[in-house]
């Protein structure tokens, strides 16, 4: 049985069925690549996995136990990188990162090395407002390195990144998987990961399945 899995998931956004009867399973050290067209529900699925959204049907389980039952524990074992970069313009890069590290772990000890992993250590004293989109993205991703977490949920992590940063991200993902961590990421770009399972959300869209709910949608 897989460590992190979802069964028969149904996602409804604004009375529209985004996907239905979706199953996924990730094992320790595994990676799951979410693909699909715009609006096929990649972000929604990641938000379901993170617990930001509740599934309309089905369950998401960690080690056989429903993640909704103990949300605090689920939060503690996961890093989520959404499509927005939560960076305050008046705080420096180091302060921004340290804030999230302290919140995650209770102390902000490991913040320094994380900046180096994504090549922004030289920007540590620069206020967030002077960062480019790609640098903000790198800073957001640097949170991954501040503390160990069993599950990484990455929503379009490569958006705005240059080739060097994508390589850095790929290394970080490889390190995470080598210690038994899991990675789920959504992407439009080609992001080859060794042994990653691919989940095409187009296969679960309401239109392909013609569920009754979809027919009712105006």
């Amino acid at each position: 049985m897989a460590l992190f899995s979802g069964d028969d998931l149904l996602c409804i956004r604004g009375e529209r069925v985004v996907f239905a009867a979706l199953h996924f399973a990730v094992d320790a050290g595994g990676a799951l690549l979410l693909t699909g067209a715009n609006g096929s529900g990649k972000s929604s699925l990641l938000r379901l996995m993170a617990g930001l959204l509740a599934p309309a049907n089905g369950r998401i389980a960690w080690d056989g136990e429903d993640t909704g039952e103990d949300p605090e524990r689920h939060k503690a074992r996961m890093h989520y990188v959404g499509h927005l970069d939560p960076i305050k313009p008046v705080l420096t890069v180091a302060e921004n990162l340290r804030f999230w590290a302290v919140l995650k772990t209770g102390n902000g000890a490991a913040a320094g090395g994380a900046l180096e992993a994504f090549g922004i250590a030289h920007l540590a004293g620069v206020p967030g407002r002077y960062l480019s989109a790609g640098q903000k993205r790198r800073l957001n991703l640097a949170r991954l390195e501040t503390s160990p977490a069993a599950l990484w949920l990455l929503d379009e992590p490569t958006a705005g990144l240059d080739a060097e940063a994508v390589a850095g991200l790929r290394n970080a993902i490889a390190r995470q998987r080598s210690v038994g961590g899991m990675v789920v990421l959504s992407t439009h770009a080609e992001m080859a990961l060794d042994g990653a399972e691919v989940l095409d959300l187009g296969d679960f869209s309401a239109a392909t399945q013609m569920t009754p709910a979809a027919e009712e949608t105006p």
Partner: protein, 221 residues
């Protein structure tokens, strides 16, 4: 607790570096009160009569003005979403942000109030009670306001809506805040009014973070 204070510290730092945001609430407070002698005329007795009410109303409006941005910036840049995913309850996040809001707006209002009381020719007996009533009342304003600020998230033009939602809820604090000062000036005991203000605060402390957190979860879905 470490996490709680790190949110408070971050919000204080943001307020200090952005500077104007928190300063603006106090400046608004001062200007709003100063307008009254100009509008009503320099009649000392009339000013003294309305002093407590004017100061309280201006304090309500000033603390409401700054509430609009309480969650909005965090909502827009994705911080709020991430705060929800941190291993501490969302209620604690709300409480931390309210604490920071009170420290940056409520506290300066309390400091400025006696000065404005002099300007309004308020009777000297009322000063200490005015400050005491504000100390008990302004945290309730921040707490109740946080519920409104959470409800208007994502509605676009929230400022107007926020005042419609929140100002009616401020009325009890206004009534007992003003009545405490009036009683002190007339030489009556003020214990009852202060106890009621304290009771509002004690009721708002658990209820408001809980309701705001529910509204924030709704906004983030």
């Amino acid at each position: 607790m470490n996490r709680f204070w790190s949110i408070v510290r971050r919000d204080l730092r943001l307020a200090l570096r952005q500077g104007m945001d928190s300063l603006m609430a106090v400046m608004f407070f001062v200007i709003a009160v100063v307008l009254f002698p100009l509008g009503v005329g320099p009649e000392p007795n009339i000013l003294a009569r309305i002093a407590a009410g004017v100061i309280w109303v201006a304090a309500l409006l000033a603390s409401m003005l700054s509430l609009e941005r309480l969650f909005e910036t965090d909502f827009e840049d994705g911080s709020l979403e991430l705060l929800l995913l941190m291993p501490l309850p969302l209620e604690a996040v709300v409480m931390a942000k309210v604490t920071a809001h009170w420290l940056t707006t409520g506290l300066p209002l309390i400091v400025a109030a006696p000065l404005l009381a002099v300007l309004m020719n308020m009777d000297g007996d009322g000063f200490s009670v005015l400050v005491l009533a504000l100390i008990l009342g302004t945290p309730s304003l921040s707490l109740v306001g946080a519920v409104g600020a959470a409800l208007i998230l994502g509605s676009g033009r929230g400022g107007m809506l926020l005042s419609l939602l929140v100002l009616p809820l401020f009325i009890p604090v206004l009534i007992f805040g003003v009545s405490a000062v009036d009683a002190a000036i007339s030489g009556f005991p003020v214990r009852a009014q202060l106890l009621i203000l304290g009771a509002f605060l004690l009721a708002a402390l658990p209820l408001c973070p809980w309701t705001s957190a529910a509204a924030l979860r709704q906004a983030l879905e």
